[in-house]
């Protein structure tokens, strides 16, 4: 097997479809702009909401960011993907907004050093008996749940609540990765976090949501 490939500093560059889209936008194609808004508005809002406290202000930030996108369009050179470039504009708009609404700290400083394990230590055998570090009792097999269990409204509400409870950095990463469908590189570039930190945040966030689902199913 090949040695572990290091992807740390590789940023996605604009694709040919994106280059074509930018050309249409520069030519004033309204359809192209509407498509762009449909594609990115939700992701932009998710990013903005992690930098400012209220949804209303986040919406203003995103509208300002769209103006920034339009102003910058002529200078876009495709050295990053269009998505990454747009998300950077959102972050910068949110950060420069100032005033008491802004959470004026760099995102990377929000990677807290809490050492909460993904699963509580009591769930594993201690050092004294046999098999230390192995399950004291197995987690349940969710494949045996009724088909509707994972897709029902009640389950989705559990997931939404669990995400709401997360510290802001974890909430942002899980929202971008698992709801908005961004890939790891895009999240790192947009939020200026390292690949390792992005993964730690994603891991903690997913582990927290899993635990909430487990409590829900085992109840």
């Amino acid at each position: 097997m090949a040695p572990h490939a290091e992807v740390e500093n590789r940023l996605p560059i604009a694709s040919s479809e994106e280059a074509e889209l930018v050309t249409r936008l520069r030519a004033g194609d309204e359809r192209a702009f509407e498509g762009l808004v449909e594609t990115y508005h939700g992701t932009m809002l998710a990013v903005a909401r992690t930098y400012v406290k209220s949804r209303a202000v986040a919406e203003e930030v995103v509208q300002d960011a769209w103006v920034g996108v339009l102003k910058g369009l002529d200078r876009f050179e495709g050295r990053s993907s269009l998505k990454t470039w747009i998300l950077r504009i959102v972050v910068n708009t949110a950060m420069t907004r100032g005033g008491r609404e802004a959470r004026s700290v760099p995102f990377s400083s929000l990677v807290a050093e809490d050492e909460d394990p993904a699963v509580a230590v009591e769930r594993f055998r201690g050092p004294d008996g046999g098999f230390p570090g192995h399950w004291a009792g197995y987690p349940s097999d969710w494949r045996s749940l009724p088909e509707q269990a994972l897709v029902g409204r009640e389950t989705l509400d559990v997931v939404k609540r669990a995400i709401e409870e997360l510290p802001v950095a974890q909430k942002t990463v899980i929202t971008l990765r698992d709801i908005q469908g961004c890939d790891a590189e895009e999240v790192c570039a947009a939020l200026e976090v390292s690949d390792g930190n992005q993964r730690v945040l994603l891991h903690r966030a997913r582990s927290h949501v899993r635990a909430a689902l487990e409590r829900h199913f085992d109840a």
């Binding site: 097997m1 090949a2 040695p3 572990h4 992807v7 004033g28 309204e30 702009f33 509407e34 808004v37 449909e38 508005h41 939700g42 992701t43 809002l45 919406e59 509208q63 769209w66 103006v67 339009l70 102003k71 394990p117 993904a118 699963v119 230590v121 594993f124 230390p132 570090g133 192995h134 399950w135 197995y138 987690p139 349940s140 097999d141 969710w142 494949r143 994972l150 897709v151 389950t155 989705l156 997931v159 939404k160 995400i163 899980i174 698992d178 709801i179 908005q180 469908g181 790891a184 690949d195 993964r199 994603l202 891991h203 997913r206 582990s207 949501v209 899993r210 689902l213 487990e214």
Partner: protein
């Protein structure tokens, strides 16, 4: 001691699972991870739970762009076009 470098515990599996699912574990650790799954149903189910969690989070729908926002942005686009 059996728990030396040559195997990993369930407690380690639950911390490595995200790196495993992201396929960024170094080859030797990925090997130990899969070796563990070969004999541990609990961890197979745990990994499945994490996959199911990711899939369920993915079912949360994104909000549609409200019509008034779309109109406002289109107006901004038209102004930008004229300038």
């Amino acid at each position: 001691m059996p728990e030396s470098a040559e195997h990993i515990t369930c407690q380690e599996v639950v911390e490595l699972v995200t790196a495993y699912l992201e396929t960024v574990l170094p080859a030797d650790e990925a090997g130990l991870f899969e070796q563990h799954l070969n004999f541990c149903d609990g961890c197979i189910w745990y990994v499945e739970q994490m996959r199911a969690t990711v899939a369920t989070v993915g079912r949360i729908s994104e909000d549609d762009v409200p019509p008034e926002t779309r109109e406002k942005l289109l107006t901004a686009f038209r102004e930008w076009k004229r300038s």
